[in-house]
């Protein structure tokens, strides 16, 4: 306990004695102890939230220290959650922090576990975890504050079931993928070559022995209609990889790196060149001549400055920002391949790309630059490759600090139940309004997450059967249903083979959800969270406890008939994007959609149809009727200073209020 009675003087005066006292008993979950997490932990500790559970699966890296201020150099490689808790505890001895070094998606963090918290604060850096926590909070009806930062931009969004949008009410854009053949045969941008090196080449040489998988990917591409002749050539390439894989692992082979070079940057390219169709309207790649490059006689392209040795940039002060010549890249390739081969020979089973692993970064830099050179694409510095291959989002302390302060302010409104005071807050580049606030939208009636009816089934999955559980949950209700776990169908009105099987045998276990879907589409889906039986459950009692009263799914709100307007853009409904989750081998080149900034002029790309000029808007629940495509898109555009017109002849009102700042 703190010896300083007066430490709460200021906070008490600002919050008032009741709220201040309430905070002492408030139990909050903070998911993430990184950039936002460190700042947020500091704020909630100082503000006096009495019980804090902090969860993070990550360990500390040197590059974290420019902003994750609870960590020191000596803490590198230790658990973020543990070190953060230790450092921050000193800021307020009255507060108890429970750190957990684990993944929030683990089954033991089930709905009852989430329900012990009065509030959940996300401080995450990926879409998958955000979606998961959103779902658990909707299911458990726990208030959640979502947030994100990237560079100077940031956002805070409170989420409360039935009162506000949930995280999934507005679809987030899926990460951009490239066609297989672009990556494998016809790259045209540096990123294609980087993806190729990082995922394909590294995988072939240093990854799992994946003959089957490589074949699988090619089979799928063939089905998609990609060029059959090309696919066949790629298949041949896959088997030829085996020879070099073996060379890399053989302790006696001193020439492995050179072999790889010859195969990948010479023989394989020659192979592709034989498919003349491909190069009818494209500039063909040039096979690289190892000896020629090393002795300076090889000329890549006549006239073109393929070597970039006369760079416009001054001598880089950072080694990594040097532009590499073709020869540099060849040397780096051989050298890094040898280092990786040595690691294999010394017992490492597989090696995959990690931006913080110098050997793999060197390899990917060299390999992608060599490929780029062969294809006449501009090369990148190691610095740039690290960012592109490693999906690095630039990050600074101040944005996280500002966002964290804003999170606490919204959290307090949630705790006070001052729902009309809740706001989404954005950090933006607009000089007059650097911090902009907008009112929250109501839930999307079609949302596949928060519009479900949630319930918890405590059970022993090893004994409870699918049939008895579903029957028990439906009770008197005799309607026809299909039952899913995730994407998997477990039963439908015509197929009840699984009814006698235990939940566990169907992989329906703690932390997962059974979805009971109404065949007629009249009622909302019943989403059943699986939790364990209490410790004192008698051994002879049934292996499940039905919720009491039984859940009554509500009537489903049917989607309105499609409106006669252009469909919304492929990159989502215009909602500001949190940093986009990037899967291996897949990179989103433009996570932030371009926003036209022309005050008072209707941009060319505004959808036609029933959107009205922005005026003061409270969340009345009528948004869904007005703008059928997306309740938030109109708001989003207006937030950027656009006035959305009804039609070509509409006139601007005198000084419409298109920035919604609460009065």
């Amino acid at each position: 306990m703190s010896t300083a009675q007066g430490r709460g003087t200021h906070a008490k005066a600002i919050l008032g004695p009741e709220l201040y006292a309430k905070l002492e008993n408030t139990h909050v979950l903070l998911v993430g102890a990184g950039g936002i997490g460190c700042e947020l932990l500091k704020n909630i500790v100082l503000t006096g939230f009495g019980r804090i559970t902090l969860l993070d699966l990550d360990t500390i890296d040197l590059s974290n220290l420019n902003r994750q201020f609870l960590f020191r150099k000596k803490d590198v490689k230790q658990s973020k959650a543990l070190v953060a808790a230790q450092t921050a505890s000193a800021f307020n001895p009255n507060v108890k922090i429970t750190p957990i070094h684990d993944n929030i998606k683990e089954p033991q963090y089930d709905i009852p576990w989430f329900q012990q918290f009065d509030l959940v604060l996300n401080a995450l850096d990926n879409l998958d975890a955000r979606r998961h926590v959103n779902r658990m909070c909707m299911a458990g009806n726990v208030p959640l504050v979502e947030s994100g930062t990237a560079g100077y931009l940031g956002q805070v969004q409170p989420l409360l079931k039935d009162r506000t949008e949930c995280f999934d009410c507005i679809p987030k854009p899926t990460p951009k993928t490239f066609p297989v053949c672009t990556i494998r045969s016809t790259p045209s941008q540096p990123i294609h070559c980087i993806v190729w090196s990082k995922s394909y080449l590294m995988g072939q040489l240093f990854g799992e022995d994946e003959d089957a998988d490589a074949g699988g990917e090619l089979d799928a591409a063939e089905k998609e209609g990609e060029n059959a002749q090309e696919i066949d050539a790629l298949r041949k390439e896959a088997t030829a990889f085996k020879a070099v894989r073996d060379a890399l692992r053989s302790p006696t082979n001193q020439d492995a790196a050179h072999l790889v070079f010859q195969k990948v940057f010479n023989a394989d390219i020659k192979n592709l060149l034989s498919m003349s169709d491909m190069w009818k309207s494209r500039s063909p790649p040039i096979p690289l001549d190892f000896e020629g490059i090393m002795n300076g006689s090889f000329v890549l392209r006549q006239g073109a400055n393929a070597d970039a040795s006369t760079s416009k940039l001054p001598e880089a002060a950072l080694k990594d920002q040097r532009t590499l010549t073709l020869k540099d890249n060849v040397s780096l390739f051989i050298e890094s391949t040898n280092r990786l081969a040595d690691r294999l020979r010394n017992g490492e089973d597989t090696i995959s790309f990690d931006k913080d692993d110098d050997d793999t970064l060197d390899f990917v830099t060299a390999a992608s630059n060599l490929r780029s050179s062969a294809y006449g694409i501009e090369t990148k510095t190691r610095w740039e490759v690290k960012e592109m291959a490693g999906n690095i989002i630039p990050a600074i302390a101040t944005t996280n600090a500002i966002v964290s302060g804003l999170i606490v302010l919204q959290a307090l409104q949630l705790l006070r139940k001052s729902y009309d005071k809740l706001r989404n807050v954005h950090l933006q580049f607009k000089p007059a309004v650097p911090l902009s606030t907008i009112s929250l939208s109501l839930p999307n009636p079609q949302c596949g997450v928060c519009r479900d009816t949630y319930t918890v089934l405590r059970c022993d999955p090893a004994r409870a059967t699918l049939g008895e559980v579903v029957k028990g949950l439906l009770g008197e209700d005799e309607r026809e249903v299909s039952v899913y776990e995730g994407q998997r169908v477990l039963s439908d009105p015509d197929w009840d083979d699984n009814n006698e099987r235990t939940l566990e045998s169907l992989s329906v276990t703690r932390g997962k959800f059974l979805a009971i879907v109404d065949e007629d589409g009249e009622l909302t889906t019943l989403s059943v969270g699986i939790a364990l039986l209490p410790d004192d459950h008698p051994a002879d009692a049934p292996p499940f406890i039905l919720p009491s009263p039984l859940p009554q799914p509500a009537r489903r709100v049917k989607p309105p008939p499609p409106a006669p307007e252009t469909p919304h853009k492929a990159n989502g409904n215009g909602k500001r994007l949190l940093p986009v989750e990037l899967d291996d081998g897949v990179i989103d080149m433009a996570p932030t959609p371009k926003k036209p900034k022309r005050n008072g002029l209707a941009p060319a790309s505004v959808p036609n149809g029933p959107v009205s000029v922005g005026t003061k808007r409270k969340a009345t629940g009528r948004e869904g009727e007005e703008d059928k495509s997306s309740p938030s898109k109109k708001r989003r555009l207006e937030e950027e200073g656009l006035v959305v017109m009804d039609g070509v002849d509409d006139k601007l009102e005198e000084e419409p209020d298109f920035i919604l700042i609460d009065d």
Binding site: A4, G6, T47, S63, N66, Y152, A317, A401
Partner: protein, 346 residues
Amino acid sequence: MSSSKSEPGLNNSDEQSGTALTEEEASRYDRQMRLWGLEAQQRMRNATILVVRLRGVATEAIKNMVLAGIGKLVIVDGEDVAEEDLGAGFFFRDEDVGRKRLDAAKPRIESLNPLVTVETVANAISLQSAEFESIIETVDLVCITDESRDTLIQINQLCRKHKKPLYTGGTYGLHGYIFCDLLTHEYLAPIRGESGEAPKTVKTSAKYTSLDQALQHKWSGLTRRQTKEVNPALVFSILALWQYQSLHGNQLPNAVENADELESIANGLIQSADVNKQVLTRIPRDLMESLSVTANHEFSPVCAIVGGMLAQDILKALGGRDPPIANLFVFDGNTGSGTTIRMKMA
């Protein structure tokens, strides 16, 4: 880029802006250099910043600037740690109560980033003294926090005399402000909206004004929308707090009984500033009452926001890229909104 007199950003006293970063620096600053670039980092690295008064906002701003890797930090504060300081001052611990603030804080500030030099002036020096003036001469930028308007005006004159850019900031309960006078500030403004390639930049020059000049600002030039956008109720509430403080021997209001006087000051200021009457003629009473009660208090989340904006702007000013605040920013903790108004700026 070689050092030249027409280089944007600040004129640093140190000529080593071309020195290569060490391995340690390259790793530590990797994520931020990917945002603002190597050159801006080098300018920060060569800068000496003076911070006056170590309360909540300064604590946050210092943390941010030290993490970012400024060259040297000089802090002036002659006071002792009070129990209330522990609410937002995370450089202090229970056992520091009664000790000099700077004695307690110095090692903890240094531990945030050993690459930054930290110098503290813990003896109580007057801001009117020759000693203080001599400190100003040795730094590249001055940052005063939680100080009264009248003192700020004096220090502003001193900074102008020695051609030092000035930042000031503070919080009043849930609200806060930042004011800056960057003399004539040159920077490379990025033209945003380009993806893929590095954004183009255009060299821009902004002429700032001193605080006493800025306070003469008339609002008649603004449209109704422009007026409303910048939260005039809060701006004038803060100006009223400053005036109240001036009339009451440096004391802020600290009880709801003071609301009447505060309100009358505020409404007088609104009148004489020619604020658009359709937008605002009087400050909402509840804002006056809540400020009367809370102005004298600081709150960690609000300090984090204002301290964050403050440090971010100082770093932008040092870096010479991106436009800094021009010239009064106010933060409204009731909603979370932050707006900037140009007061008597060209």
